[in-house]
Subunit: 185 residues, 2 copies
DNA sequence: GATCACATGTAAGAAGTTACATGATTCT
DNA sequence: AGAATCATGTAACTTCTTACATGTGATC
């Protein structure tokens, strides 16, 4: 039940989509928006070693005819760990400091949770982010620093960015409900 | 010239605004949107120790009559280090992976750089972020995964969030120019 | 024959997290 | 008197970064 680094979940999620070699994972991190993760061998291979040590991933044959290369896939325990992570409740802390993690969870979600859970996640996210936007606004109202200062403008950026996230969550939820025939709450 | 952790610059920026104790810094991190940084003593005090070791901050007397408490302020070398960080060019890498750092730089900027530099920063930022939004769109066009999947929707979040940042940058720049009587380019 | 892409690792060091540890002052 | 706040630190552990290190197979 211990907390794992985000990289571990990113790897589990990718391997659940498609077994790959470590090098394949590096290519994904180097060439897609998953590039928030480093593609350096010094981060990937130690992560693979600890996932294998904990029996969350295992070998699933060789890549092509290349010797020394191993296709990797999640074990049943690995999929269970992934699902637990995907199912965790959204906290204020995560909205504030780890919004990227919440979005990564969402990106992997439809392959491992049912449509109602995805819907619930988007609802919770929209709510939690809106709440945080209101907190930022309240802070801005009684904050120090002259209006027009860069400090003030930076705070406005935070508000604008989180507002965009809340809006996206509401729209994504509507789209999701439409294509999955869920009742409107 | 070596690269410092973001926390060091956050501390330098805050101490440049107002000399404070380590505990004061912890309070800022615990109670403002600067809370992306941990307020744990295990991160703050080692950071203060290395800044002092490198002579970027120094003591400036006691807080109130409390013994054992030290008000801290940046040295001239500390201010120079801060200004160098604030003046660095914006890279694609930073837009992609460290947008928070760019915003933190902006928040401290008006106290240390002139109005034209701030203006230039916002122009560069708007440009770099827009470029990245286009890259994300191009990726989305030829990306795998069915439309309506959570993976696809997460990608759309990225686009929406960066678009909001680009828009903010353009608006902030217009506002900045207005209040600083800079020519419109 | 050389270069690029595929492929996997290790070593040293820096930094952050969590938990522990201590003590003074102020408020109730 | 007890609790909360002010105040500063250390220790163990985990992780990431950067750099080094090696080797095969395919392409030009």
């Amino acid at each position: 039940m211990k907390r794992r680094p985000l990289l571990d979940y990113a790897i589990l999620g990718l391997l659940a989509q498609q077994p790959m070699t470590g090098y394949g994972l590096r290519r994904v991190f180097a060439s897609t928006p998953m590039g928030v993760f480093s593609d350096s061998p010094g981060s990937i291979y130690p992560a693979l070693a600890r996932l294998e040590r904990d029996r969350l991933i295992r070998s699933a044959g060789q890549s092509g005819a290349r010797q020394g290369s191993r296709l990797l896939e999640p074990t049943r325990a690995g999929l269970a760990t992934l699902r637990r992570w995907l199912s965790a409740k959204i906290t204020r802390e995560e909205v504030m400091r780890r919004i990227d993690e919440l979005l990564l969870r969402f990106a992997f979600m439809d392959r491992h949770l049912d449509a109602a859970s995805v819907d619930r996640f988007l609802g919770e996210l929209a709510g939690a982010v809106s709440t945080y936007v209101n907190e930022l606004r309240a802070f801005a109202r009684q904050a120090p620093g002259p209006p027009g200062s860069t400090g003030r403008l930076a705070l406005e950026h935070g508000i604008a960015a989180f507002r965009a996230t809340a809006q996206w969550a509401r729209r994504a939820r509507a789209a999701w409900r439409k294509s999955h025939a869920l009742a409107v709450s």
